[in-house]
Amino acid sequence: GFAQTGAESAWRTANSDSMKAEAAKRGIDLKFSDGQGKQENQIRALRSFIAQKVDAVVLAPLVETGWDPVLRDAKRAGIPVIITDRSIVTTDETLYACFIGSDFFEEGRMAAEWLAKKTGGTGRIVELQGTPGSAPANERRKAFAEGIASHPGLKIIDSQSGDFRRAGGKEVMEALLKKHGKSIEIVYAHNDDMALGAIQAIEEAGLKPGTDIVIVSIDAVREGVQAVVAGKINCTVECNPLFGPKVYDTVAKLLAGQKVERKSFNKDELFDATNAGAALPTRQY
C-alpha cells in the first residue's frame, strides 16, 4: 500500500508515477491511495491497508506529527512502514522501519549557500512562500533563514505566500514589484511553479529575470531547469521525486528480514547555469 498526499503539483505526480511504474515493472500489487491533501484521508488509507493485510506500507506523510496511533496499529499487525519524502516526528522510533526522503531542510540550506556564494553575501531578498502550514514551506523557509543568517548582508525584505501556485507567484510578485520597485535584487521561491509565475511578473514589469533580479528556487522540474538554461532562473535545487526503485528495494530487503538503513536521503542536486544544459536532456520529470 502507498498512501500519497495528493496530486498537488507536477512533482507529486512524478512521484506517484514513479511508484506505480516501478511496481508494475516488478510485478508488485500496489494499492494506491490519494490523500487529497488531508491527513485524515491518509490515516484512513493506512487503516484500510492494514485491514487488507498488505505486506508493507509506504507513507508520504502530509504533516510531521499525528501518525503514532495508526503506526502502532500497523506495528501490531506486523506490517512494516516506510516513510518517504518527508520525515515524521514520533515518540516511538520503532513505529516505522525506515525513512527514505528528500531533505527539505537541506534544500533550503543549499539554496542559501549558493546564493551567498553567488552574490558575495549581500542583497535584498523577497521570499515567495508555499502554502502556509505545509511541511515543505515551513522547512524551506526555516532552513533558508538559517542559511542566510551568517551573511548579514542578505536580507529578506518581504515574504508572502504564493500558495505553491504559478498564478499565486505571479500575483504576489506583481504586488511586491510595485511595492519595492527596483530595490528587489533576489527572489527566493519555495518551488519552481511560483518562480515561473514570478518571472512573468518581472518580465511584464520590464525587467529581466535572472539578470536584474536573481532567482533561486527549489524542485528542479523540467520546466524549471529549462528556465535555468534560458537564464531566467539562476539556480534551482533538485528535489528528486523518483523514489520508486529505492523504495521497493528497501521493501524487498525488509521482507527478506535484512537490515536497512534507518534514514537515507535521495541525492539532491543543484542546477545553475554551469550544469543545467547538460542535465536537461536526461530530466525525467
Binding site: F32, S33, Q36, E40, A51, P69, V89, G133, S134
Partner: protein
C-alpha cells in the same frame, strides 16, 4: 408508540437512505473480498469519527435553515490550540479541552448572534468564521505539534471488546455524540424549535417560539460539536495540526444531505445523518479497497457515486410520492 401510516410516510426518506446504504455496502462487499466484515463496518464509524461528530452539529444547524462553513477551521483551530496548551504550556488535558470547547462554543455563539441580531446570511458569517478560525490556528503555529501526554495514549488505545467485535474509542465517541444529537433533535423543545425555525421562521416567530435563543443556541452547539470533533481529532492522530479539517465542512454538509435532511431547513432526521456517515465511509472504503485509482479517478469516482446516490434517492422518493 403506535406507528401510523403517515409516520412512515414522513420517514420515507430515511428508509430510502437506509435501503441505498445497504445496496451500496452489498455491492462493495460483492466486489471486494474481505469488505463484508464487522471490522470494516466498525471502521466506517471509527475512521469518520470527527467528521461524524461535526455532522451532528451541522445537522442541527441545517434543521434551523442555516449552514455553518466554519466547522473545518474550528476543528483545525481546536486541535492546534489544545495541543499547544498541553505540550508547550503544560496545561492538563482536561483543562485544555475545556478551553478548546469554550473557544469553539464562543465563536459559534458570536456567529449566531451576528446572524440573529443583524439578520445576516449564515453562509457569509460562517465563512468569515472559517477565515478567522483558520487564521487563528495558523497564528498559533504553522507546524503540527505532537502530543505526548500519556492520557492520550490511554484514551486512543481504549477499545470496547464485544465478542469478536472490537469497537475503538473513536467509534464510541461518535455513537455517543450521535445519541446525544438525536435526543436533542427529537426529544427537546430546543430541537423542535430549530425545525420550526427552519420550516418557516416568520411563523415560528408568530407562534411565540424563542427564535433568538434557538438560532444563537444552535450555532453555539455546533461550535461546541466542531471543537469536540477537533479534540477527537487530536486523540485520533495524537497531534494537533492547524490545517486539520480542511474542506471538511463540505463533507459534513454532504453527509447531512445524504441522510435525507433538507438543506433549506425544517425537515430531517438525526438518524439520517448516521446513515450519511456510513454511506460516506462506504464510498471511501470501497475506493481504498480498490486501490488502483489514480488521484484524479478517485475524485471522479467519489463524484459519480455521490451523483448516483442522489439520483437513486430522487427516483425512489418520486416514485413513492406519486
Amino acid at each position: 408508540m403506535t406507528k401510523s401510516s403517515s409516520i412512515s410516510s414522513r420517514q420515507l426518506p430515511l428508509i430510502v437512505t437506509a435501503v441505498i446504504f445497504a445496496a451500496l455496502f452489498g455491492t462493495a462487499a460483492h466486489f471486494y473480498e474481505g469488505f463484508f466484515s464487522a471490522r470494516v463496518f466498525i471502521s466506517l464509524l471509527s475512521e469518520n469519527a470527527f467528521l461524524g461528530i461535526a455532522a451532528v452539529g451541522m445537522t442541527l444547524v441545517i434543521f434551523s435553515g442555516g449552514i455553518d462553513l466554519s466547522v473545518g477551521a474550528v476543528i483545525g483551530f481546536t486541535s492546534i490550540f489544545t495541543a499547544t496548551l498541553i505540550e508547550r504550556h503544560q496545561v492538563a488535558p482536561g483543562l485544555a479541552w475545556m478551553l478548546g470547547l469554550a473557544a469553539g462554543a464562543g465563536l459559534g455563539a458570536g456567529m449566531g448572534a451576528l446572524i440573529h441580531f443583524f439578520r445576516l446570511p449564515p453562509f457569509l458569517i460562517t465563512l468569515a468564521g472559517m477565515f478567522l478560525a483558520r487564521g487563528a490556528g495558523f497564528w498559533i503555529s504553522t507546524d503540527s505539534i505532537g502530543i505526548g501526554h500519556e492520557l492520550y495514549g490511554k484514551i486512543s488505545g481504549y477499545e470496547w471488546v464485544f465478542g469478536t467485535v472490537v469497537v475503538p474509542a473513536n467509534a464510541l465517541f461518535l455513537l455517543a455524540v450521535m445519541l446525544a444529537g438525536w435526543g436533542v433533535a427529537h426529544h427537546t423543545r430546543f430541537g423542535r424549535t430549530l425545525l420550526a425555525v427552519g420550516g418557516n421562521e416568520q411563523s415560528a416567530l408568530l407562534m411565540g417560539l424563542p427564535i433568538g435563543p434557538a438560532k444563537i443556541g444552535v450555532y453555539t452547539v455546533n461550535g461546541l460539536c466542531a471543537a469536540l470533533a477537533g479534540i477527537v481529532a487530536t486523540l485520533y492522530t495524537g497531534s494537533g495540526n492547524p490545517s486539520m479539517g480542511l474542506g471538511l465542512e463540505l463533507d459534513a454538509i454532504a453527509i447531512v444531505v445524504m441522510g435525507g435532511t433538507l438543506l433549506s431547513g425544517g425537515r430531517g432526521h438525526m438518524l439520517g445523518t448516521l446513515l450519511g456517515v456510513l454511506i460516506f465511509g462506504t464510498i471511501q472504503a470501497a475506493i481504498l479497497f480498490d486501490g488502483r485509482l489514480s488521484s484524479w479517478w478517485m475524485r471522479i469516482v467519489v463524484g459519480a457515486l455521490l451523483l448516483v446516490f442522489i439520483l437513486l434517492q430522487r427516483l425512489f422518493l418520486r416514485r413513492k410520492r406519486s
